[in-house]
C-alpha cells in the first residue's frame, strides 16, 4: 500500500483539483481530506456519509462564579490572556492548560472537554473517503489530521487497497507536519508566480526535513514561462523531479463549478496531462 500526499505550500494552486482527479482515475484506493480547516474535496467527490464521529480534543476552563471569591490568582498565572477582569474565561483564547484550575483555592474552575470537530467515513462514486470538519475557531487541527490519516490507513489495510490518496492541508505548520508522517510520496503542486516559487521552496524544505520522496507539478505553467523556467532550474539544481506541467485552462474552473473531477470533465489536453502524472506516481 502506497500513501500519496498532495500538498502545495501556497493555497489555491490546484491541490484539490489534482487530488480529486487522481481519485477518479486510480483503482483500489482510499481517499483522505486532510484540509480539516477548510475541506473542499467533498465539493467534487460528493460523499455519502456512512459513519460520523465526534472529535474530542483538549479542554477549556470554565469559572463557576458562585464559588469564585475574585482573588485574581487565575488571571495572574494565565499566559494566554484568557481571563477577563471579571474573572470569566474567554473560551477562544483559552488553550486549556489547566493552570488556573490548579491555582484556584476555591475550586471555582473546572476544565471542560472540548468537542472540537467531527470526522466521517463516506462512500463516493470513486471509493471510500475519510474526511473531517474542525469546529469553528477550534485548535488541534494537527490531531484531527492524524486521526483521519490513521482511520484511512486502517481502512486501506482492511480492504487491501493499493493507495491512500491524501489531499493535504495548506502551509507548513502543525497540520502539514501531521499529514507528512509515514507518507511514501509527496506531490507538491505549485504555480509559476513569485509567491508560488517562494512557498514551493518552503514546502520542499519541510518534505525533505521528513525525508520524503517528492514530485513537483507546475500548474498553469504557461501563464509565466519565465517563472516556470526558474522553478525548473531550481528543481534541477536540487535534484527534485518535475513529474508534470499542466497548462492554464478555463475548463478547470468550469469543472469545479460543475463538481466533477477535472480529469473527467475537461475535454482538452488537461485530462491526458493529469493521467500522465498519475502514471508516473503509481
Amino acid at each position: 500500500m502506497k500513501q500519496i500526499l498532495i500538498i502545495s505550500g501556497k493555497g489555491g494552486t490546484g491541490k484539490t483539483i489534482l487530488t480529486a482527479s487522481f481519485a477518479a482515475i486510480s483503482k483500489n484506493k482510499v481517499m483522505v481530506d486532510c484540509d480539516v480547516d477548510a475541506a473542499d474535496l467533498h465539493l467534487i467527490l460528493h460523499p455519502n456519509i456512512k459513519e460520523r464521529y465526534d472529535f474530542k480534543s483538549g479542554k477549556t476552563a470554565v469559572v463557576n462564579p458562585i464559588f469564585c471569591n475574585k482573588c485574581g490568582k487565575c488571571q495572574e498565572v494565565c499566559r494566554f490572556d484568557a481571563i477577563s477582569d471579571a474573572f470569566l474565561i474567554d473560551s477562544i483564547s483559552c488553550e486549556g492548560c489547566g493552570l488556573c484550575a490548579q491555582v484556584c483555592q476555591s475550586n471555582a474552575i473546572i476544565m471542560k472537554e472540548n468537542l472540537s470537530g467531527e470526522w466521517y467515513v463516506s462512500d463516493t462514486e470513486y471509493g471510500p473517503l475519510v474526511h473531517a470538519k474542525l469546529g469553528i475557531a477550534e485548535e488541534n487541527s494537527g490531531k484531527l489530521v492524524a486521526k483521519v490519516r490513521q482511520v484511512a490507513k486502517e481502512l486501506a489495510q482492511k480492504e487491501n487497497s493499493d493507495y491512500v490518496i491524501i489531499d493535504g492541508p495548506p502551509g507548513i505548520g502543525c497540520p502539514v507536519i501531521a499529514s507528512l508522517s509515514g507518507i511514501d510520496m509527496a506531490v507538491i503542486i505549485t504555480e509559476p508566480t513569485l509567491s508560488g516559487l517562494h512557498d514551493l521552496k518552503r514546502a520542499i524544505e519541510i518534505a525533505l526535513h521528513f525525508k520524503i520522496l517528492i514530485g513537483i507539478v507546475i500548474n498553469k505553467y504557461d501563464l509565466n514561462v519565465d517563472n516556470t523556467n526558474k522553478i525548473e532550474e531550481f528543481c534541477k539544481k536540487t535534484k527534485i523531479d518535475i513529474i508534470g506541467k499542466i497548462p492554464f485552462s478555463k475548463e478547470v474552473s468550469k469543472s469545479i463549478v460543475n463538481g466533477i473531477p477535472a480529469v473527467l470533465f475537461c475535454k482538452n489536453n488537461i485530462a491526458e496531462n493529469i493521467r500522465n502524472i498519475w502514471e508516473k506516481i503509481k
Partner: protein, 292 residues
Amino acid sequence: MIISVASGKGGTGKTTVAVNLALSLENVQLLDCDVEEPNAHLFIKPEIKEKISAFTTIPQVDETICTYCGKCQKVCAYNALAVIPSSKKKGTVLIFPHLCHGCGACYLLCPQKAIKEIKREIGIIESGTVANLQFVHGILNVGEVMSPPLIRQVKKHINNTKTVIIDAPPGTSCPVIAAIKNTDFCILVTEPTPFGLNDLILTVEVVRKLNIPFGIIINRSDIGDNKTEVYCRENNIPILMRIPFSEDIARLYSQGIPVVNENEEYKKEFIQMFESIRHPIKRRMSDIMNII
C-alpha cells in the same frame, strides 16, 4: 485603526489585497502574520533593518533538586513532560519541546522549585521600511508547529499611530484567530467559486464568533458563479469591492509587482474602500446603492 485581511482558502488574493491596500494609503504599517508562508515582502520589497529571533519558553529541570515526584507530568495538559521515577538511584524527566505550549504550569507548581524556563527559538521577526511604509513579518522555522506564539509576537510590533494592516494566514483555526483577534475590522477575500464560497462561509463564522466587524472583497469576480453575491445579500454582509479577473493583474502578480503601482484607478478604489471601512455610515450608503 487595525485592519486584518483573511481568507478561508489560500490563493484567493489575500496578500494582493493587503499589499495593495497598504500601498494605497498614507502612514501605514503592514504586518505579514502568514508566518508559515510569508509572501508580502515579495511585493513590498522592504529594506530589512532589524532581524530578531522569536522564542517560546520550555522547562528545564535541575535534576540535582528534582525528587521525581511526578507532579509536573500530572499538571501538563499537553503530555510535554514524562517523569521516569528513580528505581535504584537515578530517574529522569523527559521534555518534548514541540508539545510544550509554554503555559508555565510545571514551572509554577513544582514543589521543589526544580524547574526553570529556558528559551526556544520558533522563528524570526524581520522589520524594515519602504518609502514611509513600515513593514514587519514573522518567518516560522521549518518543522516548527507553534505558529500562534510567533504571530502574537509579530503583533507586539503594532504601531498604534499608524493605520495597521495585517495579512492573516489562511484557514479557520488557531493561527488565523491569533492574527485577526483584537483587530478593528476584517476584510475577507474570496473568489466566486464553490470552493471559495464553502471556505468563505466558514471564515464568516470565525469572525462572527470573534465579534469583529467585517466585509468581503470578491476577487476574480467575473469567473465562477453568482452564489457568493447571493450569500452576501442574504446574510447582510457588505461587499467592499469586486476585482474582475485581468490578465494584467495576473501578469504583474506573477512578477511580484503590486497593481496599484502601475494603475492609479485601482489605487483610488482601495482608498475609497478604506474610507468606507473607516466610516461605516458611508459604507451602509454604498451598500444601499449596490442593492439598488
